[in-house]
């Protein structure tokens, strides 16, 4: 925890520099509406990143987050189109995501298979089921009440932001104040030692991926609401941005240290970068390339540091 807090300031400078830089070059960057739109977009990433951070803290990884997000969004959307109430639809969407997370956790913890293979498989299961359920097309046009979730305001701040704040507080609380939190750090720091000390490693891993599923579910539903459409590949790529937000935020891939405070800053950096590049008028493909490079660069920097 202390290490995480010590590492945050560096990133905060990056964040500030980024904001100043974009503000200097881009007219309209420093407007309230742009600010709000960054917040709205960044919130979804923030929620997913929490799930990615949990996995990485335990020295695992979760590539299934994006696919599960798509799945949750599509399930919710399709059910609403079938006339289900908003609450029920959201509940079932969330339950689907939770089940996916639970299944991932069971396979990882129970069979002891490398998380990246399992979550890679689950990524395509999630995405694939989303395709099947949606019939391969996006599911557009929801009721106003549902759109509030992603587009509405509470106290003049976008609702997704409040959702992200809640998710953050809960995960932060889990990491700081629960036995699960301590055991996540313990498993990531030294799995054998944790096990020797009596930590139930399997249960810990199961819970990590279970919570990951829940968070992906929340993110998927909010995304669908914000876009007013659930797209079967809507969550695609989020898992990668989430890993990047985690690593940029000071939690190394080698696990055991860091935390979600940094991850939030990391998510902000990535969201602002996307927004800035977008406003600079850079075509989407180039944005993709540049952000890919920046992400790989930052993870590489982290890898080089820990190699030394």
């Amino acid at each position: 925890m202390v290490a995480a807090i010590k590492r945050v300031p560096g990133i905060v400078y990056v964040l500030v520099a980024l904001i100043m830089g974009f503000g200097w070059f881009i007219p309209g960057f420093f407007t309230v509406s742009n600010f709000l739109s960054v917040i709205r977009q960044g919130s979804v990433l923030a929620v997913v990143s929490l799930g990615a951070t949990l996995a990485i803290l335990s020295r695992g990884v979760n590539l299934s987050l994006g696919g599960v997000m798509s799945l949750a969004g599509v399930v919710t959307g399709v059910l609403m189109h079938r006339g289900w109430s908003i609450m029920a639809a959201i509940l079932v969407g969330m339950a689907t995501a939770t089940a996916a997370g639970w299944l991932t956790g069971i396979v990882i913890a129970g069979a002891g298979i490398a998380p990246f293979v399992v979550t890679l498989g689950m990524m395509s299961v999630g995405e694939g089921l989303a395709l099947v359920i949606s019939g391969g097309a996006s599911v557009p046009g929801f009721s106003n009440a549902f759109q509030v979730l992603g587009q509405g305001y509470l106290l003049r701040v976008p609702i997704p932001f409040w959702i992200a704040v809640m998710a953050f507080l809960i995960v932060h609380f889990i990491l700081r104040d629960t036995q699960l939190g301590v055991s996540i750090y313990a498993v990531g720091g030294n799995e054998d030692a944790a096990s020797l000390s009596g930590v139930d490693v399997r249960r810990c891993k199961l819970q990590i991926y279970l919570i990951g599923g829940i968070l992906a579910g929340v993110a998927g539903v909010v995304l669908a609401s914000r876009m007013n459409s659930a797209h079967p590949s809507g969550g695609m790529g989020f898992e990668f941005d989430a890993i990047a937000a985690t690593v940029v935020g000071g939690t190394p891939m080698s696990g055991g240290r860091g935390g979600v405070v940094g991850t939030m800053v990391g998510a902000a950096i990535i969201s602002i970068m996307r927004n800035g590049l977008n406003m600079l008028g850079l075509p989407t493909p180039w944005q993709m390339t540049i952000i890919g490079m920046i992400i790989i660069g930052s993870i590489a920097l982290d890898a080089l540091k820990s190699n030394r």
Binding site: M1, V2, A3, R176, D177, T178, Q179, L180, G181, V182, S183, Y185, A186, G188, G189, N190, D192, A193, A194, L196, S197, G198, V199, D200, G256, R257
Partner: protein
């Protein structure tokens, strides 16, 4: 006299091929430090593991507080008040001291499952650290602490379990003098609180400094328990060594044989200092020393696994200031690593593959494998070394330890190296295979191969070596020849006899 907190009677433990403990008696009184001495492999760890719940003895009884107990797992050991501090720390690097002390046993907030009461966590930790007189902030992250402080945290963790029997396995191995002082202070504190401490050590001078009684183990047997006041170091050395070892019949002196390997002023920061040694053609040179004295690190540096910072190596006439394994092999140097399962053999691959791994480019210069040639080579070594395997296509992991070691040997014979470094060539293999490996080593030497043999097995060093270097704390402290090669002298230098007394 007070009742013993722990009594072990006639503890016997058999492992496949080895009698690890043979009717060992051991006891411990509250408030005493009972030192357990013995060479590597004498049975110290096994004896302690029967207490920690890692092994169950085949026969014999363990009595704690006058009640006979069976300890089947670490949890039961804990419940009996037995705690063990292993050499490798079991602390989690990025958790705080307090989180480590109470890992998986955190005080709960409002008694709710899963919720950690952090205030109490830190308060309780502070209290424990204070009673022990350990000045470590419970909020500091373990990875920021020095080795000594981490050791103290381990002690605190053990005692937070209300341990009345504390086992410490070579606690001072990595500590500086000042840190040892501090640790001893804590141990005195524990004694005054009535905790019984079993203290495993390699450092002879510590016996007098901290011990009340000392028990010497040798070959799985207890050869005596003494009051520290009644016994001197030379007696202890004799007890540890004990048996008469066959002296090497044909210990040769070959001062005029050409030098095969010369290491000069080799230095690797924090690991090796100014190491100088020579191995001549046809010579078997023993490299003795305690575990952690830098022998394996030296072998790795010479072979090129790890870099070195300064110094040079002359290998068969070639002067090297930096090297790597591929270059070493090409020049004719081989290293049979200490850990054959991790570094020596790919267990999931067949015998024939493992035999040729180190000589692929030499055997197949065209980069195309010649199966007939490969098969001939593998079968020849299987025959010559009498490797017990149904065929050369068997996965190495299925072979016994001794046969695995022979495959490692075959692998390096196949490279036709002129200089071979054997790191613990017979560790963990049965007596028959051991004799065979020794025979092959002698044969090789007769054929002019220069051999540097690292071993913790003193009889092996004494019976095999033409010359012996003794390493201690990263450097060579003594070169022994002829008559001087005996166990007492070697162990004396290795343990730093005459230092710090």
């Amino acid at each position: 006299m007070e009742r013993a907190v722990l009594e072990m009677h006639q503890i016997t433990k058999q492992f496949p091929g080895v009698l690890a403990l043979d009717k060992v008696d051991f006891d411990l009184y509250p408030g005493e430090v009972h030192i357990l001495l013995g060479e590597n492999g004498a049975g110290k760890s096994t004896l302690m593991k029967t207490l920690a719940g890692a092994h169950e003895p085949d026969s014999g009884t363990i009595v704690v507080d006058g009640r006979e107990v069976r300890i089947r797992n670490p949890k039961q050991a804990q419940a009996l008040g037995i705690s063990i501090i292993y050499q490798e720390f079991t602390l989690i690097p990025y958790l705080t001291v307090a989180q480590n002390i109470f890992l998986a046993r955190e005080p709960l907030r409002w008694g709710m499952r899963g919720l950690v009461d952090r205030d109490r966590l830190y308060a309780d930790s502070t209290a424990i650290l204070k009673t022990l007189g350990i000045s470590v902030d419970p909020r500091s992250v373990v990875s920021t602490l020095g080795v000594a402080q981490q050791q103290l945290v381990e002690v605190a963790k053990a005692l937070s379990l209300n341990a009345r029997i504390l086992i410490m396995d070579e606690p001072t191995a990595t500590l500086s003098d000042q840190e040892i002082e501090q640790l001893f202070g804590i141990i005195h504190n524990l004694k005054s609180r009535g905790v019984g401490v079993i203290y495993i050590s390699h450092r002879l001078q510590e016996v007098g400094q901290i011990g009340d009684r000392v028990t010497v183990l040798r070959d799985g047997r207890s050869v005596g328990t003494y009051n520290v006041a009644d016994v001197d170091i030379n007696t202890l050395i004799k007890l540890m060594v004990g048996r008469e070892v066959m002296e090497k019949a044909d210990r040769r002196s070959l001062p005029n044989a050409p030098e095969a390997l010369r290491v000069s002023h080799l230095h690797r920061n924090g690991v090796l200092h100014d190491v100088n040694l020579v191995v001549r053609e046809g010579e078997i040179v023993g490299l003795a020393g305690l575990v952690g004295s830098g022998r394996t690190e030296l072998a790795r540096a010479i072979f090129g696994i790890d870099p070195f910072d300064s110094g040079e190596i002359v290998l068969l006439g070639k002067r090297l200031v930096a090297t790597n394994p591929s270059l070493s092999i090409r020049l004719g140097l081989g290293l049979l690593p200490e850990d054959r399962k991790s570094d020596g053999l790919a267990l999931i691959l067949p015998v024939k593959d493992n035999v040729t791994h180190a000589s692929l480019t030499r055997l197949f210069p065209s980069f195309i494998l010649d199966f007939r040639k490969e098969r001939a080579i593998a079968e020849r070594y299987v025959r010559d070394l009498r490797i017990a395997t149904p065929n050369i296509f068997r996965q190495v992991g299925f072979l016994s330890g001794g046969n695995q070691q022979k495959v490692v040997l075959a692998k390096w014979l196949a490279t036709q190296s002129r200089v071979l470094i054997f790191d613990e060539p017979t560790r963990g293999i049965d007596v028959g295979a051991k004799a065979e490996v020794h025979d092959f080593m002698r044969q090789l030497a007769r054929q002019g191969v220069a051999i540097l043999m690292i071993s913790s097995d003193l009889p092996e060093i004494v019976s095999m070596s033409d010359r012996v270097y003794v390493m201690r704390e990263g450097t060579i402290v003594k070169e022994l020849e002829g008559e001087d090669i005996n166990q007492e002298t070697i162990i004396g230098y290795a343990m730093g006899k005459g230092e710090g007394q």
